[in-house]
Amino acid sequence: MAQSNIVETVDLEKHYKNVVALDGLSLAVPAGSIYGLLGQNGAGKTTAIKILMGLVRPTAGGAAIFGLPADQPAASVAIRQRTGFVSDERDLYDFMTVAKLIAFTASFYPGWRADLAARYVRSFDLPESRVVKALSRGARTKLALLLAFCRGAKLLILDEATSGLDPVASEEVLQVLVGHVANEGVTVFFSSHNIAEVEQIADHVAIIDRGRNVLSGALDDLREAYRRIEFVFDGEAPALKFHSTGVVRMERKGRVLSVLASSGSEQIVAEGRAHGSLSAQARPVTLKEIFLDIASRER
């Protein structure tokens, strides 16, 4: 496995009795990245994360964090020492006060950052004497993040960190996260079904659908390569056969031929011209358009 990848999965499979949750999932998360794992509910995001954290055993394939095999108990303990994990359920000890839970968690981690914990309690505005059970969903998420941030971890794995939060609380949580990344230089691997937040903070992205990685890479590369090209013809738009690679999808409507291209938009424009299009306009494509296109294609 490449040294520069902090998290790596190869052909990961997980079959439950009647369900295939992961169907050959391969991912590579580079060191220092904020990596967004995007997929619809049920796409396999949580299963993949549970395998990485040693909570679920894969049916086949491999998963490694820091080069250590995630499915082996001894390695998994070492992984969890070096990884801050926030689960989908935010499972915290409800009966403890905020201050108690922080002190309790600190006792497990030799590298605990008491300085950061004190700072984040203030900046997250957490009520130290309140019992965890009585916290709002936003405060509960911030507390879970604090506990993950302060163990001195070089990797954060967050499962749907902002789900169930209102827009203000979720922006606060993202701000806390980018602030922590900026100051501590950690790698973040987070799952989300929220395209907007992935576009906002991720530099790498993987879109998974039905347990497979259908598109992944540096987000800027995708943004620079993908184009929507609209050709206008004099009469009914012809069903062109493009030689250029990179044509993902074509739609004809009257005089307009619309092409979604994953690369090579200039050659595609030139080909359209050669076939007599009157005008061609290429514009950037949002991650949302790519995601929706993949979702409809796979159905």
């Binding site: 980018v178 990344v181 530099d203 943004r223």
Partner: protein, 129 residues
């Protein structure tokens, strides 16, 4: 200094920041020697990836617009051509203003003007006119 990238526009965020810095230098909102916000505070303020801000600053340095001084931060470079750039920009604005005025007089709408300019810049306008 106000930066406002739009993450959902499909245009890489680092390019948007670069454009906004260049624009600020052209309009004189940022002048040679002045300091830009640090990578960390800017990432936090805009709630975007610090790597993205760092990439924008690296590219701006490569283009000679800013200088990155070890430990001190990012500064608008004296050789950014800010003066000439500002003059060029003012001249260009006069041309655009005149063109827009003429087009409006012909009844071309704001949206149409915007699309025409975009198509012209992309080199994609039809050749038939």
């Amino acid at each position: 200094m106000l930066f406002r990238p739009n993450p959902a526009s499909g245009v890489p965020i680092y390019l948007q920041i670069m454009e906004q810095v260049k624009h600020a230098v052209e309009t004189g909102a940022l002048r040679p020697g002045e300091q830009l916000p640090g990578i960390r505070p800017l990432a936090e303020e805009l709630v975007i990836n610090p790597n993205t801000v760092a990439k924008a600053y690296r590219e701006l340095e490569h283009d000679g617009i800013i200088e990155l001084r070890q430990g001190a931060g990012a500064f608008v470079s004296a050789a950014s051509g800010a003066q000439g750039r500002a003059e060029k920009f003012r001249g260009a604005r006069t041309i655009v203003a005149a063109a827009v005025k003429q087009l409006r007089a012909r009844g071309v709408t704001e949206d149409e003007i915007r699309r025409l300019i975009d198509a012209e810049l992309a080199g994609l306008s039809g050749k038939g006119e």
